[in-house]
């Protein structure tokens, strides 16, 4: 406790630690309770495996888990990259042409109302068990949040800045690159943080609907073999993957917007 109270006011690493500690404590407590319950209640490991068993089984099956993670990572990253590139192109086109925006936006909204449970098997049926249907599904779940974030970001451009650039006789394209695009960055990264978590889930879901390899199909097989410990091991791995992607986004965000970390300090 003494450590906590003194650290919060002082050095940055310690204050980060004090921010993380409550969450870490809560998780530790939940895992400990789970472990105790699984050990003491006599419940069968094929129903509820203890956390310790999940970890040992994860270690014993590490090769299979890694082999099945790689396709998932590949599907996530390529699907997300496609989705990002397409969302960016569409956002620019829709920002410049209001008619295009009115024509396309309802279609994109409808695409978000499709139940993934029904769409995923269909896409696998149409495009097979390869990488393409996974990329398509990841793109389907992440495209719209990214597009909306970008469009909203462009709209958030300061009216005074736009007027200033008009008075400088800047072209429409210059106004876009000088003001609208940088104004959209905070929105873009907010959208990116949300959709990267969707992306991993989307990829696993796509594999669940049908794949040769991948965490999704691994989970399905483990479930069918009555191995909840391996299901949970794969879930743990997918959570770790999501967290790593999320952290990478936060890191890129910091680097892309250096002015944000300096806001507020030094203003007299």
């Amino acid at each position: 406790m003494a450590l906590l109270s003194s650290s919060s006011a002082r050095s940055a690493p310690l204050s980060v630690l004090s921010g993380v500690l409550p969450a870490a404590g809560a998780i530790l407590f939940a895992v400990a309770a789970w472990e105790l319950y699984a050990d003491l209640s006599g419940i069968r490991p094929s129903i509820l495996p203890a956390p310790s068993r999940v970890l040992t089984q994860a270690w014993l099956n590490r090769q299979a888990l890694i082999d099945n993670s790689l396709p998932t990572i590949r599907a996530t990253l390529s699907g997300f990259a496609c989705s990002l590139a397409i969302a960016f192109v569409f956002s620019v086109a829709m920002d410049f042409a209001q008619a295009l925006r009115r024509a396309l936006f309802p279609i994109f909204v409808i695409s978000q109302t499709l139940p993934l449970v029904a769409i995923a098997p269909l896409i696998v049926l149409w495009f097979g068990f390869g990488l393409l249907p996974k990329i398509l599904l990841v793109a389907l779940v992440t495209f719209f949040p990214m597009l909306v974030a970008l469009l909203q970001g462009y709209e958030a451009t300061d009216k005074d800045v736009t007027e200033l650039l008009v008075s400088m006789k800047a072209s429409r394209w210059r106004i876009f690159t000088l003001a609208r695009l940088p104004s959209a960055l905070p929105y873009f990264f907010a959208g990116l943080r949300i959709s990267i978590t969707y992306a991993v889930v989307g990829a696993i879901f796509a594999e669940y609907a049908g794949a040769a390899r991948g965490l999704g199909i691994y989970i399905l097989t483990a479930k069918n073999n009555f191995r909840p410990d391996l299901v949970l091991a794969a879930v743990l791995l997918s959570a770790a993957l999501t967290l790593i992607c999320f952290a990478a986004v936060v890191l890129i965000e910091r680097m892309a917007m250096p002015w944000r970390s300096k806001e507020g300090d030094g203003s007299q």
């Binding site: 007027e163 200033l164 008009v166 400088m168 006789k169 800047a170 002015w259 030094g266």
Partner: protein
């Protein structure tokens, strides 16, 4: 009438059914500092928008050096109400924005604005971001961005409106000193009567919507001026006249 400088002749502008500018005629001679004073919402900023080309007039003519505006013959350097600094650009790149839009490379534009940081009281802050500067410094940076474009005329839209009283007074005195050295042709929009008297050669007093020119005042104070000059009889007479018209005649005509 002088042919050098800016001339507005019987300009009118409505937004939908709302007439904003009724009948505006005014001029700004070369090297003159002219201010437009009027009640809030009287369409003062609309006049600047007509000049920068953001809006077009419904009637009347806008001439610069005798030629109609819009043909690209007149170049105004515009300073908006809030500083409109881009938070993602360092101060030096904010100041160089107009030059970059004109087509200069970033390094070239930076080299051109760098020597101006000292006279604008901003030396040492070139690589800072706007969020790291105080309100007064941000406003000076915005003015530096305006000046450096080397255009025919400055358009200042309530540049000190968002500052606290003390900073504002300091900025007014500083701008007055800068102007006395450079003699920029300038049109200032404000509702601060003292600011208008202190900075201007002439003042146009606008009515409420639809705006017309109620009266024109010459400010006979010699240059360079100090804030203490506002205590002189001439300055106080103008200030009282303007306030009298704004507060009494305006409300009386509306009732």
């Amino acid at each position: 009438m002088t042919s050098r400088g800016l001339q507005l002749h019987r300009v009118a502008k409505s937004f939908g059914a709302l007439p904003v500018l009724g009948d505006i005629s005014l001029h700004v001679a070369e090297g003159e500092f002219v201010t437009i004073v009027g009640p809030s919402g009287a369409g003062k900023s609309t006049i600047l928008r007509l000049l920068t080309g953001t809006e077009t007039p419904d009637a009347g003519s806008l001439l610069f050096n005798g030629k109609p505006l819009g043909a690209g013959n007149a170049r105004f350097a515009f300073m908006p109400q809030r500083d409109a600094l881009m938070p993602w650009r360092r101060i030096i790149d904010n100041a160089a924005l107009g030059l970059e839009v004109q087509g200069l490379g970033r390094a070239e534009a930076r080299a051109k604005v760098a020597p101006l940081f000292a006279p604008f009281g901003l030396s040492g802050f070139e690589r800072h971001y706007p969020a790291q500067l105080s309100g007064g410094m941000r406003q000076r940076a915005a003015l530096l961005r305006t000046i450096v474009q080397a255009h025919d005329m400055l358009l200042l839209d309530e540049p000190f409106g968002a500052l606290d009283a003390l900073t504002r007074a300091g900025m007014q005195e500083w701008l007055q000193g800068m102007w006395a050295n450079h003699r920029w042709t300038a049109l200032l929009i404000t509702h601060d009567v003292r600011e208008a008297v202190f900075l201007s050669d002439r003042i146009y007093l606008l009515s409420g919507r639809p705006a017309r020119v109620l009266r024109e005042f010459k400010v006979p104070l010699s240059r360079p001026r100090r804030l203490a000059d506002l205590g002189s009889a001439e300055a106080r007479a103008i200030e009282t006249d303007i306030l009298e018209i704004l507060l009494h005649r305006e409300t009386a005509s509306r009732i």
